[in-house]
Amino acid sequence: MIFNSLEYILFLPLVFVLFYLFRHKFRVFILLAASYYFYISWNPVFIILILLSTLIDYGAGLSLERTSSKFTRRLILGISICANLGFLFFFKYFNFALENVNEIMLAVKGSYQPIEAWDIILPIGISFYTFQTMSYTIDVYNGKTKAEKNLPYFALYVCFFPQLVAGPIERYNNLMPQFKEKAQLLIQNISHGGRLILYGLFMKMVIADNLGVFVDSVYGDIAGTSSLNLLIGSVFYSFQIYCDFHGYTTIAIGSAKLFNVNLSENFRTPYLSTSVTDFWRNWHITLTTWFRDYIYYPLGGNRGTVLKWGLAILTVFIVSGVWHGAKWTFIFWGLFHALFVLFEKIVRWDKQSTNVFLKGIKWGVTFTLVTALWVFFRSPDMDAAILYFKSIGANWDIEGIDLGIEPFILLGLFVISDILTRKKNFALSLNMIPSVGRGAIYFVLIFLLLSRSATDMNPFIYFQF
């Protein structure tokens, strides 16, 4: 079941009604059952993984609290992390590792019978819920949070359906108190949640999926595509992935709001950033802060020598690349981001400036760099990415554009709405508009959603991670 499906349009109101029909103490079971059903609708077998992950971290949390022995605590943390990363490694990286071992062996030995790749299906959302549960155990270990004794509540923390498959990656301290607080049926929550769901669907189905049609055609024939189309394709992809992921997150936040749960914001107009460093403060915020708290800080952060700091930055971004997928394109994408962040620190690019012209230049450079690096992210392999860059300068044939004006108008509309909602999210921004204006905005959004949604329904891009 995906958010942009009829099933979800029916599922969500049903869970909403059931949730408020029951008393508070039963609601955890309603949400838990709904979340498991939501996940089972993808692939019933992989629910076992979530249950295992839940039990391991639930047990680890309790055990950590019951012992004060440093060695035992480290052992428990180690077991929990190894188990979580073990699942992740097996399902996501095993074949990638095998492929690379084969290539190394071939290079070293010359004649070598490569080991065949295993037929492994990636369980949806594994990277997200694994990181979420790991953060809990690490926080308990560090004494930042108390262990959860109530198994159903802990299980819900691991699998809460709005954010189960692609985040936002939530911290225990943010989510659990909200689950335990008695939710009131409030008009504000329905209105707020409904607005966000509408806007999220608009971003996904009208903008991202329509841009995706052109992007797919460009990446499907890189060599045969004109330079201008390649440039348009790369800009479109920047917005496709943004609207796709931001759309997903917005629907997730809106859905959770219906149950009186505030999920974390994941995006703050990242394409208005004037540096790559700034971009990462505004893009996939819950993942970035996860890396900051659990990798960057433990590695020393910006304390210590420049070399140590540089290594910490490189590690974080390469891990971020690997987190996205088992491909060299993701690793290079992360590596280049790291290099740009390091470069910005060295030349003090990030220094605040009041000069509008300078800000404009910085914005232009940042957007260009981020867009260029998305080419690695989108390309099926490194050869395709390199071909893309090579082809951009190769064929300035204007006749090759066969696109129409509609995608540009829709994109323009989104850019305006994104800029207008940069300080408060869409739902809150609407509060500042008179009811007639709000009605007009609803009309336009729903009309575009019903009539201009792309006809080839696509799953969310981040589901593959």
Binding site: N4, S5, L6, I9, L185, I187, I190, M205, G439, Y442, F443, I446, F447, L449, L450, S451, R452, S453, A454, T455, M457
Partner: protein, 343 residues
């Protein structure tokens, strides 16, 4: 109570919005969307509402042979043969009972039809047509033509609320049907397409059947895949669609003519044998009896088209040269006159 009122007001507003949006959609994007996702409906728009009949056909209606000096459609020939009535044409490649049903539902209410002609293609009952990848497009078209609000149809397409399946899934369905949909032929070793087809390919049939060569072996295989089945009147979705067409026509007061297309039975017999012909005849007879009982006029062209009239020689199709198309039109004319639908 406050919440109920809040939700109720918004529900009412939503309904009003929806009708207004639908109106706006009809004036803006609808025609373009129909062209893109349900172009078959465009043909229906072009129909003269004063026509006495509509001929619904697939490629057999318009396919021509290069050497033909006359390249008329079957339906045009029929229209010329019956000057007292006007027959409109709605056709497109690959159509079948499911799409005809969507079209029949969309016949303009103001039309005062005497009859409709539905092309009945034997192969469209077979698994490889029922589960062809092209079905996605046809299912999408059918949804676009549903008699609800067009803007909702469009959104339902975006939500993929039609029978969408990937090519792999369709192929898997097809192979499963070839294996599981059994047929019975007296004194014959095989009861499903997979077994029969592989037996022909891997055994020594080339030595046994003098008409079979390495070159025409693939064609023989296509004959088995396209013609070897038993029509199941309970579960075959095409039968269900045809039944609904008949029922709609009965309600609206016009006659239904099923134009059962001619098949190259001579080549089927030559390449595969009498066993295949046995099945073809069994199904033909079933279709004729089943629908005649429902009051449908069947124009049975099954054996009427000579081998020389079939255009395609590497795939079993119902593409005839002009002579073949003329035979069909003549048979139709005879049936229409016999049933006194020409006045």
């Amino acid at each position: 109570m406050k919440i109920v009122k809040y939700i109720a007001i918004r529900m009412i507003l939503a309904v009003v919005f929806l009708f207004a949006m639908n109106l706006l959609y009809l004036y803006t994007f609808w025609k373009e969307d129909v062209k893109q996702h349900g172009d078959v409906l465009e043909n229906l728009w072009g129909v003269d509402i004063h026509s006495d009949a509509i001929y619904f056909g697939e490629s057999s209606n318009f396919h021509t042979q290069e050497v033909d000096s006359i390249k008329h459609r079957i339906s045009y020939a029929l229209d010329s043969l019956l000057p007292s009535i006007s027959i409109a044409t709605v056709d497109n490649a690959g159509l079948h009972a499911g799409t005809y049903l969507s079209l029949v539902k969309n016949i303009p209410k103001e039309m005062n039809l005497k009859f409709i002609v539905i092309t009945l293609n034997y192969r469209s009952f077979a698994a490889n047509w029922r589960y062809a990848p092209f079905e996605n497009y046809l299912a999408k078209s059918a949804l676009m033509l549903e008699p609800t609000l067009p803007i909702l149809n469009k959104y339902m397409i975006s939500l993929r609320q039609y029978d969408y399946k990937s090519d792999e899934e369709r192929n898997a369905q097809m192979k499963l049907a070839w294996k599981n949909e059994k047929f019975t032929i007296p004194n014959f070793d095989y009861d499903n397409v997979i077994e029969w087809d592989s037996a022909m390919a891997w055994h020594t049939w080339l030595d046994v059947n003098p008409n079979l060569t390495e070159e025409n072996l693939p064609l023989a295989s296509h004959y088995i895949k396209n013609f070897a089945f038993n029509i199941d009147t309970v579960n075959n979705e095409r039968i269900e669609d045809l039944n609904t067409i008949v029922s709609i026509a009965n309600n609206k007061g016009y006659k239904v003519i099923f134009n059962l297309l001619g098949e190259n039975t001579i080549e089927a017999k030559k390449l595969v044998g009498n066993e295949l012909f046995y099945l073809m005849e069994k199904n033909r007879s079933l279709l004729v009896n089943y629908f005649t009982k429902q009051g449908v006029i069947i124009v049975d062209n099954f054996y009427q088209i000579p081998d020389s009239c079939f255009v395609d020689r590497n795939w079993p199709t119902e593409h005839y040269n002009y002579q073949g198309k003329k035979i069909v039109a003549e048979n139709m004319k005879t049936a229409i006159i016999a049933n006194e639908l020409h006045n």
